[in-house]
Symmetry: C2
Subunit: 226 residues, 2 copies
């Protein structure tokens, strides 16, 4: 196994370095286009697509939002966000891969109307582990977690929470039904990530989307005035 | 990238083959010991540990259950199942790896009281993608999905549902609150996997655990009479 392991590390490091280079090119291209780009990461079923839909509705005509949908299979999410009013959407099927990489995003950018776009959301494959290792070229890494997943998620998946720029707790309408303990959750997040803002929302009821959308628009303004 | 990709495939194939060999050794060892071994796979926060706890309580003195807990960090799950009455528990920290592999399980088996054990549950890292590629030596692959994750999970993560021997839908007490559509879920599962039994449970209320535990004990009897 030792030779195999050594080779794997070498190849893995080269792949990660190539990926980082491609991510930097994507990030620069998106900044030049004035498109604030958010990489949305969460467990399967956390409510990523629902967050995008409610955000599009809440932002309304204050910003035009495009979406890159990453899934190992299927295209129902791209159809959903277009119905909700997304400016544009591209579906990436990773063919079994557990995360999006920068070169997949690079290809999708060519198919998007960046000139007409203000915010691009990259919806990653549902996974709280693997997407942390691969940059895609985003300006903001967003970690979404649903109350139904339990207050212990930061304890179980620390790199995801430590490496995010903003954290959104969704499905807060279920907090009582599932016995979610806010104190444990906030303490665990703060131990890993003292600075990232934390928003509480419910895509079902719409709670919290005003504050969350205002923050996103403020970040868009900051990108454009930089 | 082409040279890197070719190398990665070669190394990857060898790692998977080595893993399959180790998994076969684990499976034979566990069968000889008469220990029915279940690999429990699910998204983060689906309720894997809660399922194990309720199963231990429901099975009672009809079978002694041991647990291998796989997490990228932490050991709170092993402590939880021991408090619930598990015969024995070993915590594996994968150090960032997104799934358990056969050689990790191999090491843990040496630390478990297999002679006194009837059922071993291997709780995999929370992930609906990566664990499908790596055998560990189990006799049953169990896919657990929580109603709060939505009825579209089989459509989004087909290999997990196609490759499982039994599927458990948990958190059924939330079905109405989250608008979970049973017809869509069952149709999608059946399109991928016509034969695997599907159980509906709630670890919160205890619903469905009688039927699920009886089936598990029946499979234990079948292993031992083989």
């Amino acid at each position: 196994m030792s030779v195999g392991s050594i080779k794997l590390v070498q190849v893995g490091e080269r792949l990660l370095r190539d990926n980082d280079d491609a991510a930097t090119r994507n990030r620069d291209r998106l900044a030049r286009a004035g498109v604030l780009t958010v990489n949305l990461m969460a467990a399967p079923g956390a409510g990523k697509t629902s967050l995008i839909v409610r955000t599009i509705e809440t932002v309304g005509d204050r910003a035009r939002i495009g979406v890159i949908e990453g899934d190992i299979a299927g295209s129902i999410d791209a159809a959903t966000v277009l119905r909700a009013g997304a400016l544009d959407a591209v579906q990436i099927n990773t063919g079994g891969n557990c995360h999006l990489e920068a070169n997949m995003v690079d290809g999708a950018l060519d198919d998007l109307d960046l000139a007409g776009m203000d915010i691009l959301v990259i919806e990653n494959v549902g996974n709280l582990v693997c997407p942390t290792h691969w940059a895609r070229g985003e300006h903001l890494r967003l970690c979404l977690v649903g109350a139904a997943e339990g207050h212990d998620k930061p304890i179980k998946y620390p790199p995801m929470f430590a490496g995010s720029d903003v954290i959104v707790l969704t499905k807060v309408d279920l907090i009582d039904a599932v016995g979610f303990d806010r104190d444990i959750f906030y303490d665990a997040v703060r131990a890993l990530n003292p600075r990232a803002p934390i928003f509480e929302v419910s895509s079902r009821t719409g709670a919290g989307f005003g504050e969350w959308s205002d923050w996103l628009l403020e970040r868009l303004g900051r990108l454009r005035s930089a």
